[in-house]
């Protein structure tokens, strides 16, 4: 981790000094080591503040579209974050020429709230970046564990029990929209839930309107969710949203044979079709 931090600082400094990029999106010190923050370095001296440790879970791809089109940006990405960058490229939201991608191969990141290790059995099952210009460190061995094992328990439940589970979880939602704000794929302006006309979902946190918001969000992320798990870590009520996103991702992978953000040449599954798609998927 320390080596990655040093290399990250060096590369950021070089890129900013040579003027290759205008901004470096990486991690900066928060109020203590356990709480690093997303950080945008804009001058060579800023790079002193860049940190990298096991608590740097944030998906920096979230911030790519905050800059005017044409801004040259360097971005530090872990495995899943690079997939998010790929999805944004597929959707033509950002331009590859304006990007310098600093890949960080890493395992053993920790959730700052619980100190639990984040691994393939929960979220972030991609340890190595899928797309990068500069790789900071050695590639790490890929885990054999399926990212979907964690779903087994829920999948085996009867429908009514799953309803009880989700009703309990989603009823806690206070509609702070932290999940949406943390999500690299949620860039719509305005978000459907903020629209006054048509009013898709009521704004007050009741179970029905919470379902309306979350189910629609799960659908909007179908075939796009890169399983970084930031929504669940951002959630102040600790709702395991990642379980639902994983399930939708799994179904998309099974039905359309393509995982989100693995290659820039792929077309997102929901804006694509194959004549041979089976009608059975509708059953």
């Amino acid at each position: 981790m320390k080596q990655i931090e040093t290399r990250l600082r060096e590369e950021a400094k070089r890129l900013l000094e040579t003027g290759e990029v205008a901004v470096v999106l990486a991690y900066g010190r928060g109020y203590d080591d356990r709480h690093p923050m997303p950080y945008a370095a804009k001058t060579a001296s800023d790079t002193e503040r860049i940190v990298f440790n096991e608590y740097c879970t944030h998906n920096m791809a979230r911030y790519l579209m905050d800059y005017p089109p044409g801004t040259r940006i360097a971005i530090a990405v872990k495995g899943c974050d690079s997939r998010a960058v790929v999805v944004l490229l597929q959707e033509e939201k950002i331009n590859r020429e304006n990007l310098v991608i600093l890949g960080i191969p890493v395992t053993g990141m920790k959730d700052p709230k619980t100190d639990r290790v984040i691994d393939a059995s929960t979220t972030a099952g991609t340890p190595n970046p899928v797309l990068y210009d500069i790789l900071l460190g050695e590639t790490v061995p890929e885990s054999d564990a399926s990212p979907y094992v964690v779903l087994e328990e829920l999948e085996e439940m009867a429908g009514a029990d799953r309803w009880t589970f989700w009703k309990k979880e989603l009823a806690r939602c206070i509609r702070c929209y932290a999940c949406r704000q943390a999500c690299p794929m949620c860039y719509c302006d305005p978000c459907f839930v903020d629209q006054a006309e048509p009013r898709w979902a009521d704004k007050s946190p009741s179970i029905e309107s919470n379902l309306m918001f979350h189910l629609t969000r799960f659908y909007h992320l179908a075939g796009r969710c890169v399983d970084c798990g930031e929504c669940s870590r951002a959630c102040p009520m600790e709702i395991p949203l990642y379980l639902f996103h994983k399930k939708v991702a799994k179904e998309c992978e099974e039905m359309f044979e393509q995982a989100a953000g693995m290659s820039v040449d792929d077309k997102p599954v929901m804006v694509d079709f194959r004549v041979e798609d089976a009608d059975e998927i509708l059953l």
Binding site: E208, T216, Y219, V248, D277
Partner: protein, 142 residues
């Protein structure tokens, strides 16, 4: 009193809606439980329509489109197929009775088939009973 379900039908203008029209003009009898909304193409259907219908108390939702390959816009129903398949999986995983949501390809000449499907679906919903999970208007379950 027997339970009379409320079913939302969303029909594509070119096939299913015309098929429903044919059912009407040929005087085929079918249950009045279905309320049909017309859209220009099944791919116009936003999955939130379906969630919203359930939220507002629909007991079932029946979506009708052209047979694959027959779409008036050539490819609309291929996109719709993917979108509605994911919608179904989402309803299933949330435990919201996916049987209440059904997609059928009904062409403009299949008036009797339209009537048969509506009959069958209405019977199915009747056996399932009122939808009380997602519905605001009917009060939450228990």
């Amino acid at each position: 009193m027997e339970f009379e379900p409320k079913i939302l039908g969303i029909a594509c203008n070119w096939c299913t809606y015309t098929g429903a029209d044919l059912a009407g003009t040929t005087r085929v009898q079918y249950p009045h439980n279905i309320r049909v909304a017309r859209v220009m193409c099944s791919s116009r259907i936003n999955p939130s329509f379906i969630f919203r219908a359930f939220e507002l108390g629909a007991d079932g939702v029946l979506v009708g489109g052209c047979h694959p390959g027959d779409c008036h816009y050539s490819t609309g129903n291929y996109y719709a197929r993917r979108k509605l398949a994911v919608t179904k999986k989402i309803l299933d995983f949330a435990g919201l009775e996916p049987e209440r949501f059904r997609v059928e390809w009904i062409s403009a000449s299949e008036g009797t088939r339209y009537a048969d499907i509506v009959k069958e679906f209405t019977e199915e919903i009747k056996t399932l009973g009122p939808q009380r999970r997602f519905a605001i208007r009917k009060g939450a379950d228990e």
